[in-house]
Point group: C3
Chain length 261, copies 3
């Protein structure tokens, strides 16, 4: 039974690029290899947005699976490729920060440099896909790879409480307009978030357990989302539209200390 | 050989939510389980639109297949989950009306309540996906489930002829701008539809057999579509745009009785 | 081990049409048949745009694979269906020009006419999908098919140099705004392209090896793309948006003869 290969990219859906990577995987690893789209909608060239999606999804993927992650504005330059092993799941990616949000410990190896036959504009298909396919059929390959001791890691700020404010950042806004913040469930456990600072004043946030707990159309909600982070949602529509939020933007939340329980 | 699992949702394509459900299915049922997107573009939270897509596609899916249907604005509340068996195909869904457009007879069972380890914001991944996976490998599971005698059913109006008018509703507008109406081929068989009432007057509808039967750019067409319903199409573009139609909107058609044949 | 079936269409992602074709393939060829989306985003009814995507992707697909190509504005009319064999890969499509950009030699056969049970609005599902599925399990079927000696072929202009100008056409604009031109790497090898003629004057094109070779935000790039054609890219954004280009539009490039090497 073949190990599945998941694909994350910023390739969108206007082209056959993703299919060409899948074809490269099937050609190498066998036609019965399951290849599954993780997402093709990472923002164009936004490595940190890709890092978010990878860290949110990877814990949910089966052990032994391989994820091919291609957000690669530096394709064709000298940047390295890497293979990583995180809690039993493999990742193949350019060494540009895509693994920045995966918590330690993680094993990382350098991929061998691409051969001369590889195009200079599509390493996802010509280089990374065959590497991911090889890893899916031969995980022992890593024994022959050189460890990568200094992978590129992007600064990922954690949410930071200071007095009655909590500075946070939007990691992602989803299809429903929910705004995923860089505030883990653990961090949020010690605080009570009461509102969000906007140009028009502080809007109250109601801490709830599920999206349906709000009054339709009237409330901004604050809840533990399914991706490991706290979310701002709107009971009647898109919180991202209401608040004008997008990935990478900063937000300031008002907090009070949780009552000791 | 594994039974395929199809997935219908309103999750869009901005996130890894669908992939996380697929991962849950593969983890439970085996990596060689075919998982296939039915659609992720049900309108956000629109259960009736999901019910349309489910009823249009289900007759085309292989017998023995399982369809995981997740349009679930009430996730985390007390609403039940169900498993249904319709003409040899299984459906797993929240009990909120998603099976409303499947004609009787249908067997329906209650799913057991989710355990405490299930998130309150993503039952699709944490609860319904494993249930669908289980049903795909063990259809006999239903023998241990309690029948659901009173599933939530939404009102689905059939098209209604009255004199020389036929009141109908738009079930769906497709990628080509074709407007699928709640008029079955059977109902249409006894009528001759001649036009559609618009604010600017009655526009003629030409009954045709296929989309290419119209004069490009000039005609509104009325034909038996491939999804089991009558459609209004435009020979030169999008009927939905021309007429300003969207799912859920009502339309009034002019009819005359068919000549006896 | 099953042969994969790839699917190319202009069906978009608003419907379950692609899934219904996949279900038809699995029902015929077996549930373990890999079915993979090549693209569903061919421009609506634009056969030449479909022909581009087919010719760009086909060389990358595994030998023995079958590609189901459905861009079919003439569905339900008398147009024929065809099966083609190109360098070991099969294609099943309406006979309307979809194979126009595949270089000779190619073997082409007529598909038998659809039976009476086939809908007049969705041959992709009811006729072409079962034909593709049959070919995937029984390639010898072609021995029983009649050769098609005069397939419909659309005019595909090659780029044409004349003095210091090169008249070309946009075949496709991709998700990143790269403009793929009908200029093969071979044709480009004998020329040095220096600029593009726009209403505001001639803008310089810098010939580079990879997308990262430009100065962000300042330059238009000209490079050998991964799809077999020369591309105009922008180092800081979307060349398609900057230049207002879309598939089917003509462009005029300025050239000088390459120095003899």
């Amino acid at each position: 039974m073949r190990t599945p290969v998941f694909i994350l990219s910023d390739f969108g859906d206007q082209d056959t690029y993703t299919a060409q990577m899948k074809a490269a995987i099937l050609s190498f690893a066998g036609f019965d290899t399951p290849v599954i789209d993780l997402t093709w909608n990472v923002q164009r060239g936004n490595v940190l947005h890709g890092a978010f999606h990878l860290s949110a999804a990877l814990p949910r993927l089966p052990e032994g699976s391989v994820t091919l992650a291609v957000v690669d504005p530096g394709v064709g330059t000298g940047r390295l490729g890497l293979a990583a092993l995180w809690r039993g799941r493999y990742v193949v990616a350019p060494d540009n920060g895509l693994v920045s949000m995966l918590p330690e410990p993680m094993s990382i190896w350098k991929l061998p440099p691409p051969g001369d036959e590889v195009s200079s504009t599509f390493h996802g298909r010509d280089f990374f896909a065959p590497c991911a396919a090889r890893l899916s059929v031969d995980p022992g390959w890593t024994e022959f790879l050189e460890p990568l001791s200094d992978p590129v890691l992007l600064r990922v700020s954690p949410g930071e409480p200071a007095g009655d404010r909590l500075a946070a950042e939007v990691l992602h806004t989803d299809h429903f307009g929910n705004c995923l913040l860089n505030i883990t469930h653990e961090l949020a456990g010690g605080l009570t978030v009461t509102g969000i600072v906007t140009p028009g004043g502080i809007l109250p946030l109601k801490t709830v357990r599920c999206y349906a707990d709000g009054t339709p159309g009237e409330e901004l909600l604050f809840l533990s989302g399914s991706q490991g982070f706290m979310e701002i949602a709107s009971s009647g529509g898109s919180a991202a539209e209401l608040l004008g939020l997008a990935p990478g933007m900063g937000v300031s939340l008002t907090v009070k200390e949780s009552e000791p329980s």
